[in-house]
């Protein structure tokens, strides 16, 4: 009973923080990509909140974890969580009509779970079973929702409207969400987040050096997203347009 009351309270806290951040940050309105990022003013505020959160909590924890955990162990943890993505990947492969690939994902999951110590070792890749990356956002994109507005979420970082919606389906299929919903177990989520953050520590220097870290994160996210939607084979950039005089 307690937890039922707690959960909406948590959500309310997140919303309050969001509103407070939105209200107290400056009213600067830049439009560096009006087409894909029409809410840039709002997004920048959440971005700078996320960066502060990362500087004082996310990054220090990830650095500590990275110092304590040897690389092979980290790889094992990452493998374990990626193996748990299987239900989401499988379901979305079916939704996109990728039946052959969904079969490979199933073999992969079974193989790694049985022979890779519950997914800790990615033995499937070594025997030639490729890893696929599918999620609800990508499914919505293949169903026709190709362009979606960029949206930065508090704590969670870069998203699009489509991918936020996609993400909200996660709770039904992902074992990590299942653990939270049914068992009130937050440890898997937290370890996964720390491991993910630790794997990005290398990118911090580039981000720090960037002229505008906000656009660097946004452009990288949107490009990488398109790459995944097209399963690694996106249309070639229109480089000729880069030379033209249009804004």
């Amino acid at each position: 009973m307690m937890s039922r009351i707690e959960r909406p309270a948590r959500l309310a806290a997140v919303l309050l923080v969001t509103l407070a951040v939105a209200a107290c940050a400056g009213t600067q309105n830049r439009h560096t990509d009006p087409e894909r990022d029409p809410w840039e003013g709002y997004n920048r505020k959440i971005h700078s909140f996320n960066m502060k959160f990362d500087r004082y909590l996310g990054r220090p924890v990830a650095v500590a974890y990275d110092t304590v955990m040897p690389d092979p162990l980290q790889r094992g943890v990452a493998n374990f969580f990626r193996n748990l993505d299987y239900p989401v990947t499988f379901f979305n492969q079916l939704m996109q009509g990728k039946f052959r690939e969904s079969g490979i994902s199933t073999s992969r999951f079974l193989f790694n779970t049985v022979f890779g110590l519950l997914g800790f070792f990615d033995v499937a890749t070594r025997v030639g079973m490729p890893a696929y990356d599918e999620d609800f956002g990508q499914t919505l994109a293949t169903w026709g929702w190709t362009d979606s507005r960029y949206l930065v979420m508090p704590f969670l970082g870069p998203f699009t409207v489509r991918d936020t919606l996609g993400r909200s389906f996660y709770g039904y299929l992902h074992p990590i969400s299942y653990a939270i919903r049914e068992e009130d177990m937050y440890a898997p989520l937290i370890i996964d987040l720390i491991q993910r953050r630790a794997s990005f520590l290398d990118a911090d220097a580039a981000l720090e050096e960037a002229y505008d870290p906000y656009t660097l994160v946004r452009d990288s996210y949107l490009q990488n997203r398109e790459f995944k939607i097209y399963d690694g084979d996106p249309p070639v950039t229109d480089y000729d347009a880069f030379l033209e005089d249009e804004p």
């Binding site: 560096t32 990452a78 990615d122 505008d212 452009d219 490009q223 690694g232």
Partner: protein, 206 residues
């Protein structure tokens, strides 16, 4: 009736005057990528310990072996876009130089993580070859056992196929740098950007 024939003759003469590529691989960008990577990695493996101690030596290797394959001038024009319209030739040269130094440094740093040639796999071209532009796709095997897809975008120049963009997991260097640098040039001017790029280079080679 006279002009077209003269034109054709002139074209033939020009073709004859153009030195033919020494071997056919100059016509095959995929071959270019694997040859170049092979050459750099061989040199890397021969002197791995030395390069670890003195990374600037590896930068020279990269400069010698990789730079001739790149069309840095064109990449620079793409990155600057309309913000490079008013730039002088000297400014463009300085910008291109600063960009390629930065790129070489990054590449050399990345190379030190490499262990063997088997880590790089060049995938066959998939009907993407056209007269002007093509994309060579490779996969880099990561320590984790997974792969990072790295594509090289080539264009045909008078000096053969040259790469002008690198796309790592869908993230294009040219696009990303362009989105960073164009607003910076507009806000602070090209000279300030060149100075900062050169400074970054100093910091990185420390």
């Amino acid at each position: 009736m006279k002009t077209p024939r003269t034109g054709i003759l002139l074209a033939c003469a020009w073709l004859a005057a153009t030195p033919l590529p020494a071997s056919s691989h100059l016509d095959d960008p995929a071959q270019l990528v694997s040859d170049t990577a092979g050459r750099i990695l061989t040199r890397l493996n021969e002197n791995h310990a030395q390069y670890h101690q003195r990374p600037e030596l590896l930068k020279d290797v990269v400069r010698e072996d990789l730079l001739p394959l790149l069309d840095v001038r064109y990449a620079g024009r793409l990155i600057l876009g309309r913000s490079g319209r008013d730039a002088s030739a000297e400014q463009l040269d300085a910008f291109t130089e600063a960009m390629s130094n930065l790129l070489i440094n990054r590449y050399a740093e990345g190379l030190l993580q490499f262990r063997s040639e088997e880590q790089l796999e060049v995938l066959p071209l998939r009907g993407e070859l056209n007269e002007r532009m093509t994309r060579v796709r490779t996969r880099v095997r990561l320590e984790s056992g997974g792969f990072a897809p790295v594509d090289y975008v080539f264009r045909r120049t008078d000096g053969g196929w040259k790469a002008f963009d690198v796309v790592v997991e869908g993230i294009s260097y040219v696009t990303t740098y362009r989105n960073q640098i164009m607003p910076e040039v507009q806000a602070e001017g090209l000279d300030a950007v060149i100075a900062r790029l050169n400074q970054g280079q100093l910091v990185l080679s420390d």
